[in-house]
């Protein structure tokens, strides 16, 4: 464990108090990265870097400011500037730092020495194996990029209100993207991969990701013109994240509620989705991926349902939003050393349904399978519209690849029109786990 960064945070808090801050909090991150990138049909780059960054949040009366720096000799100056900016910023009665109750400073189970030991040679070898593996599965696949990286991240927090904590984490991640080229024809662009804190599990998942990548790339070749209709779309876990869960988490942020941007404001305890839909924050760990043990303000992270059986259970609160709403923080302060905390979600999952995704595909009748969505979902209104990437028309159990197909609908209506969730789920890049979801009433426009 890097105890020096906790000491640095304590020094920063002392410096801020000395500069005139009434309260101060410091959050530091030391990050060591090794990365190997294959692109342009060759091993392109091996890199290594290390950075220490610290962010100082200060209160002068009820005014707040934040300064971050990676120049560690600059600590006293950064603290002085934070106080100076706070003094010229308007006050807010709800501005304060959270009290004590720091996370367990000895929590260290996300640090896998087997990942920490991986050097550029190991990553290069694994990258070469992935490239060879893809070529052996299907020589038509043109690889745009394979990127493997290892990160060791040490985080620490200290404040004048008694918060003090530190944790170390290792991440291994692998990412592949590309498309199929066959003569003049170029298939739809696709990607896959894996990330997590346990070397053996991530490596295993990466190979499954390679299989999915090749299957998606090849499957989308020779698309035909689709059909226009209003009806059912089947969202793969990728598309569930893009269309449903990503924007929904934004609307669940207590800051969006306070600012009048979230249409979910005032709807706590109400039914907002089909009863089959449960959106859960799994807390500290999910499968082979673990998040922080404490949030950006040092508050403990715990499991909870955000939407349980279709009912809105809670918004995502950091300490400021909790104070405004008269509640307690849910441990959802996100951010790092270079940004002040704000509410958000770390890890999230949608609970599964009862049938395999392949069964849903077969039994739905006419539907559009959406592997990837390239478009926009407007959180404030819920309106979404965009193009389906690598889509398939499903009819009488047959899969037909389609090109240039657009879908449009409304997120908040779509949640109520969920008709099925698959029993099999995908843990995407570590931090999310979703099933395939069928939704009715979406407008599909063929090009």
């Amino acid at each position: 464990m890097n105890t020096d960064i906790l000491a640095l945070c304590t020094q920063a808090v002392t410096a801020a108090r000395k500069a005139g801050a009434d309260d101060a909090e410091a959050f530091a991150t030391r990050r060591r990265t090794r990365e190997v990138v294959y692109e342009k049909n060759d091993l392109n780059l091996a890199r290594t870097d290390e950075e220490l960054a610290i962010g100082i949040r200060v209160l002068a009366g009820k005014s707040m400011a934040f300064v971050s720096t990676n120049e560690s000799a600059d600590l006293a100056e950064a603290a002085r500037q934070a106080v100076a900016i706070a003094r010229i910023s308007p006050p807010d009665d709800y501005n304060a730092l959270p009290e004590g109750a720091a996370a367990d400073p000895t929590e260290d189970d996300l640090y896998d020495p087997a990942i920490a030991r991986l050097g550029p040679e190991d990553l290069t070898r694994l990258t070469a194996e992935v490239v060879d593996g893809i070529a052996q599965k299907d020589a038509r696949v043109a690889i745009d990029q394979v990127r493997l990286s290892v990160e060791e991240v040490f985080e620490a927090i200290a404040s004048s209100r008694g918060v003090s904590g530190q944790a170390g984490t290792t991440y291994l991640s692998g990412f592949v993207m590309g498309m199929v080229k066959e003569g003049e024809e170029v298939g739809s662009f696709t990607y896959d991969g894996a990330a997590g804190n346990v070397r053996a599990a991530v490596t295993e998942e990466l190979w499954r990701g390679v299989d999915r990548f090749v299957e998606k790339a090849v499957g989308a070749l020779r698309p035909r013109k689709g059909r226009s209709f209003q009806g059912t779309v089947l969202l793969t876990p990728d598309a569930v994240g893009e269309i449903l869960v990503g924007p929904l988490l934004e609307a669940l942020g207590a800051d969006a509620v306070r600012k009048g941007r979230s249409p979910l404001a005032g709807r706590m305890g109400e039914s907002i989705a089909a009863p089959s839909f449960t959106l859960r924050d799994p807390g500290h760990r999910m499968g082979f991926f673990g998040g922080r043990t404490f949030d950006r303000e040092g508050m403990p992270i715990r499991a909870m349902d955000l939407i349980g059986q279709g009912t809105l259970r809670t918004f995502l609160y950091d300490s400021y939003e909790a104070r405004v709403a008269g509640r307690t923080s849910t441990g959802h302060a996100q951010g790092g050393a270079t940004s002040p905390p704000r509410p958000g979600s770390g890890m999230v999952e949608v609970l599964p349904g009862s049938q395999l995704a392949s069964t849903l595909e077969r039994d739905l009748g006419l539907a559009l399978l959406v592997p990837r969505f390239s478009g926009r979902v407007e959180m404030a209104t819920g309106d979404f519209s965009g193009v389906v990437k690598g889509g398939f028309l499903l009819e009488r159990g047959e899969r037909v690849p389609v090109a240039e197909t657009m879908i449009a609908g409304n997120l908040y209506e779509a949640l109520k029109h969920i008709v099925a969730l698959s029993s099999d789920r995908l843990q995407l890049f570590g931090s999310t786990r979703f099933p395939t979801i069928a939704i009715e009433g979406v407008v599909v426009t063929a090009g």
Binding site: V36, E39, L43, N70, I85, P90, E378, E404, M406
Partner: protein
């Protein structure tokens, strides 16, 4: 700093590129009358790139001392050696291009650095207030002022040695209107390379705020767009998105080498005769373009590249490595977001050259179509397939502007759309300077051009 870097390079074997980069960002965000954020951040360090056994190695250190940089050079060499056995095509040398020497400084840096922070907080507060006051239908408004000061020193072992300094202020204001329970949102934004005189030369921050609110109110009761294939006029904001996302990325030489749709198409017709597409390190036609760079991050002077001339694909965008591969001169497109990032091929200011028609003449030539303005977001594949969302779509009926609709998205194949262009306006505008491009790293770019008349697939909330 330049002396230290030159000394290290002088003592090094083989090709070494050292880049000191310091970024200082100040950001103030106001929403619903509250200052949500007052932020200052500093980030500095040295990025080191070496070519060892024909393979790149990269290392970065936030410690800019001579000793730490020398250590980073060794780490970069070690990383390169570790991966060299798996590299198929060894890079034996780099074309020189026009290597930069001296001091390069864009206007506005010193004035804006000296300006008190109070004035910047006040600008954000007043704009947010003006947006809320513009209509009783505005439920909430947010304004953000942000400025980034950048200083770089770039030294390479084959002769580049320069210092750079520039500032990029950006301002954005967003309003949410609610009318009879119907919500709509609209944003106005501006981002330049230069000072406030440049950023607010066309409209003040308060004028932008009022405009955002009025447009949000207009959209709140607008019906949804229909889907289908239409003849449209793309405003400079959408042209910017089209040329950046849908075309510019496909002609970045690293994407070309990976198999983008532009591969093998040099010398072929990819657009109609009225289309000439360029990418420039300078702010062509109109001052302040947000992606302006005098020198790229490999130390190459950043000039103007004609990508498509009168519809014929003429050049890709290059780094030194890709230029070596294609046997051409580098185009000054290698850019790195921060010191810890390696240079990648990125666009700068990408635009279509203006034509000779007026917007009115172009509208008069459409029987049933749309004028599309206000990009919301956009994405494109290496296949040239693109999609972007449009904030305001105004119907054109019988050669005249008619009702406003919302919720429109545009998609197509980039070169197909360019081939369908039949008219280009005289009016010209940079309109992407407040945005960032994402390609592994963030990057400040700009894009724009004239109005273009073409054919696209429109996606909407109604079946066409």
């Amino acid at each position: 700093m330049r002396e230290i870097l030159e000394r290290l390079v002088h003592n090094a074997d083989g090709f070494v590129e050292l880049r000191y980069h310091r970024q200082e960002t100040r950001a103030f965000e106001v929403e619903k009358g509250r200052v949500e954020n007052s932020i200052l951040s500093r980030r500095s360090g040295v990025g080191v790139r070496v070519l060892e056994q024909g393979t790149w190695g990269f290392a970065a250190t936030s410690d800019a001392s001579e000793k730490a940089i020398a250590r980073a050079v060794e780490q970069a060499r070690s990383a390169a050696r570790a991966s060299a056995t798996f590299r198929k095509a060894r890079l034996l040398g780099l074309p020189a291009g026009t290597l930069a020497r001296g001091v390069f400084s864009e206007p506005g840096y010193d004035d804006l650095y000296r300006q008190p922070l109070e004035a910047k907080i006040q600008l954000a507060e007043e704009a947010e207030r003006a947006a809320r006051a513009a209509s009783p239908l505005i439920e909430t408004a947010r304004s953000t002022y942000r400025e980034m000061f950048e200083e770089k020193t770039i030294v390479t072992s084959d002769g580049a040695s320069c210092d750079l300094k520039l500032v990029r202020p950006e301002f954005r204001v967003n309003a949410v209107a609610v009318k009879d329970g119907d919500r709509a949102t609209f944003s106005e934004m501006v981002g330049v390379t230069g000072g406030w005189d440049c950023a607010f030369k066309d409209a003040s921050s308060q004028e932008l705020a009022i405009s955002a609110s009025r447009k949000a109110v207009d959209l709140a009761k607008a019906p949804y767009a229909p889907g289908g294939r239409f003849k449209v006029i793309l405003a400079p904001s959408i042209v910017g998105l089209l040329v950046h996302e849908a075309i510019g990325h496909t002609v970045e030489a690293d994407f070309v080498m990976a198999g983008s749709i532009a591969q093998g198409k040099l010398g072929q017709r990819v657009g109609s005769e009225v289309v000439t597409l360029c990418d420039s390190g300078a702010s062509e036609h109109y001052a302040g373009a947000g992606g302006t760079i005098p020198v790229d991050d490999e130390g190459i002077v950043a000039g103007r590249t004609v990508i498509i001339r009168a519809g014929i694909l003429e050049s890709y965008l290059h780094s030194r490595e890709s230029a070596a591969h294609f046997g051409v001169a580098p185009t000054g497109n290698a850019r790195a977001w921060a010191y810890a990032d390696e240079p990648l091929i990125r666009m700068r200011n990408t635009y279509i050259e203006p034509g000779d028609m007026s917007l009115e003449e172009m509208i008069a030539g459409i029987d049933d179509g749309f004028l599309l303005d206000g990009p919301l977001n956009g994405q494109a594949d290496a296949t040239g397939e693109f999609m972007f969302a449009v904030a305001r779509a105004q119907r054109i009926r019988a050669g005249k502007l008619a009702e406003l609709v919302r919720g429109a998205t545009v998609s197509g194949i980039a070169f197909d759309v360019l081939r369908s262009v039949d008219a280009v306006s005289r009016e010209f505008k940079w309109d992407m300077g407040a945005g960032y491009c994402g390609k592994g790293q963030r990057m400040k770019v700009d894009a724009g051009g004239p109005y273009l008349r073409c054919e696209v697939l429109l996606g909407g909330q109604q079946l066409g």
